[in-house]
């Protein structure tokens, strides 16, 4: 890493041991502090380099490699990044406010659009939060279906990471390959939920519909189709010298730093911390599955890539196990309070019709209380904090989105790198702005 003198002294990336929390806090304080919209005069920037030597450059919000509308302010000395600051909010949709206006039964329609690459996770964590407050026991089949869909979704999400990461370091074909494989999973999603994205499939009390006939074959086809393609990625990127040079020792973050910044998911695991909620604090039936937690060593962009690549393999293995384990039974809870009557009964029974009508106009009430539920999403810990005041609408719903927290690692990772590294690092964090800004 290049050494650069700023007003704080050497900005060399320190080794893992000597970076204490205080140090980190100081470093974080060194990121750019500029109100948005203010044009920066380089002379005003408090850095001890000559007047004309640094340049402030805005990456985004409209930039091909900032994954949507992330804006990163970079202070450059030549092509070396001295300081950087992510600026977010360009996709702020007010979803948490909207959620307070929507009934629980409508809620998953809203949350599914938060992190739009892992919609099933958003729906699941919301549903689990509501079910915890309702004290409803979801049928086993529904839980297994949720797990199946989540793992498929994880693969789809990581595939998209592969695509964009490849694209950002300049391997354009990888972009297309990632998308090609993702379509296989999306077509299964479309078959099950009716939509390619934003499914609204997992709802409080279970899932919206049972799996279609012959789903096992479809899922096993996916499991057969994806791994050979992953081996192709190994040929195309993992073993590719240029790719390795572009990502190794780039965007390094140590375990201490990652923990202090609250990073979770592949970023934390790539830094060498074996922390996966599925393994360490099992929820649903993850304790019945056999899988490994993929852990990296160096915490650089390549490790994050490798962790994600191997997580896909683990997920495929888990999906194979899940296919065998899904039991027969109900796909949603048989609780009249929460679940609408089956479509067939509405035609026969007036009561069912009224019940259906009331449920969808008034919703169901959830007892007073507050709860925090967390699951492991492709990018880390996805948490839902739900406060209920006893009515049919959430009083406050807060989503702890991993992208939002992980993005804070950016200034630490970027410092001392090049502009080209910035691109590789941003994509290795894999932030989804829909989740960041909500």
């Amino acid at each position: 890493m290049t050494v650069h003198e700023t007003f704080e002294g050497g900005q060399e990336m320190k080794g893992r041991d000597d970076t204490g929390l205080k140090e980190l806090a100081r470093e974080k304080g060194a990121v750019l502090r500029l109100p948005e919209g203010v044009t920066v005069d380089p002379a005003d920037v408090d850095v001890e380099v000559g007047e004309d030597e640094t340049m402030i450059i805005n990456m985004g919000p409209q930039h091909p490699s900032t994954h949507g509308v992330l804006r990163v302010m970079l202070e450059l000395d030549g092509e070396t990044v001295l300081r950087s600051k992510p600026v977010i909010g360009y996709l702020h949709t007010g979803m948490e406010k909207n959620q307070e206006e929507l009934m629980y039964i409508q809620g998953s329609t809203n949350v599914t659009r938060m992190d739009y690459l892992s919609p099933i996770f958003n729906e699941t964590v919301f549903s689990v939060a509501v079910e915890t407050l309702l004290d409803v026991q979801v049928p086993d089949r529904a839980t297994w279906i949720r797990m199946l869909m989540m793992e498929l979704n994880r693969v789809a999400s990581h595939l998209l990471f592969m695509a964009t990461n490849g694209m950002d370091v300049g391997a354009i074909s990888m972009m297309l390959y990632g998308w090609r494989e993702r379509e296989i999973i999306l077509s299964f999603f479309e078959k099950v939920t009716g939509l390619r994205m934003n499914h609204n499939y997992v709802r409080p009390g279970g899932v919206a519909a049972d799996l279609p006939e012959g789903w096992q074959d479809d899922v096993l086809d996916i499991c057969d189709a994806i791994p050979p393609r992953l081996a192709e990625y190994d040929d195309l990127l993992t073993g590719q010298p240029i790719f390795r040079e572009r990502t190794e020792q780039v965007g390094v973050i140590t375990a201490d730093q990652a923990l202090a910044l609250g990073a979770t998911g592949p970023i934390l695991r790539a830094a060498g911390v074996p922390w996966d909620l599925r393994k360490d604090m099992p929820y649903m039936f993850y304790d019945q599955l056999e899988f490994d937690v993929v852990v990296g060593t160096y915490g650089d962009a390549f490790d994050r890539y490798a962790v994600r690549l191997n997580e896909m393999r683990e997920s495929i293995n888990m999906i194979r196990q899940i296919v065998d384990l899904v039991p027969a039974g109900d796909y949603r809870v048989q609780d009249k309070k929460v679940t609408p009557p089956p479509r067939a009964r509405i035609d026969e029974s007036m009561e069912a019709l009224i019940h259906h009508f009331k449920l969808f106009t008034e919703g169901f009430k959830v007892p007073t209380g507050e709860v925090y539920v967390a699951i492991e999403q492709p990018r880390g810990e996805l948490g839902a904090y739900l406060v209920s005041d006893g009515s049919a609408k959430p009083y406050r719903f807060h989503m702890r989105d991993p992208s939002f927290v992980n993005l804070q690692c950016l200034p630490v990772m970027l410092r001392g790198g090049f502009v080209a590294d910035a691109v590789a690092v941003i994509s290795s964090i894999d932030p989804i702005m829909g989740g960041v800004d909500r």
Binding site: Q62, G94, N110
Partner: protein
């Protein structure tokens, strides 16, 4: 440069057909993605749907070189000035596709944070419905745009409604 200054006659008539053909077959989109729809927009460009067939795989990162802005996703109040700036940076002739309900009307998010329809910020030529619209839907929107370029309807509409960011067409496109 453009055909705007020429008077209408046989040669310019044929030239115009040629130019419309060229414009239709070479609509370069700007890389401008906002939210979920951007993912579907990229999926449309990817192997299974392949926008390249229409000569559209040339996603230009620089708005100066782009012809088409696909506003893919919800537009927040904070992003709106940026969107307008990007639109202004694009060179005429330029077209806008509003992809998805959020871009078209604010969609399900009728609240403080979102602009309720990008047509409040930039003139829109084609609205593509859906949340998010699948690649087929977007492609239909694009083909519709091609058709409108071919028949010159878009220019006519801009002429009559004044929409189109100061594009004036005199003589051509009747």
């Amino acid at each position: 440069m453009g055909l705007e200054d020429l008077s209408h006659n046989f040669i310019t008539g044929n030239l115009e057909t040629l130019v419309k053909w060229a414009r239709r077959n070479s609509v370069w989109p700007a890389t401008f993605g906002l939210a979920c729809c951007a993912i579907e927009m990229m999926a449309t460009g990817a192997a299974n749907y392949d926008l390249a067939r229409f000569g559209m795989e040339v996603f230009r990162a620089s708005p100066r070189q782009a012809d088409l802005m696909i506003v893919a996703g919800r537009l927040s109040q904070k992003m709106a000035p940026v969107l307008r700036q990007v639109y202004d940076q694009m060179m005429e002739p330029k077209w806008v596709i509003s992809m998805g309900v959020c871009a078209s009307s604010g969609g399900m998010f009728n609240n403080y944070a979102l602009v309720q329809g990008v047509d409040q910020v930039v003139p829109v030529d084609i609205y593509v419905p859906g949340c998010p619209p699948g690649p087929q839907t977007l492609m239909h929107g694009i083909i519709t745009l091609h058709e409108l370029i071919r028949t010159g309807e878009i220019m006519q509409r801009r002429q009559s409604s004044g929409a189109g960011a100061g594009l004036t067409l005199e003589g051509a496109g009747r």
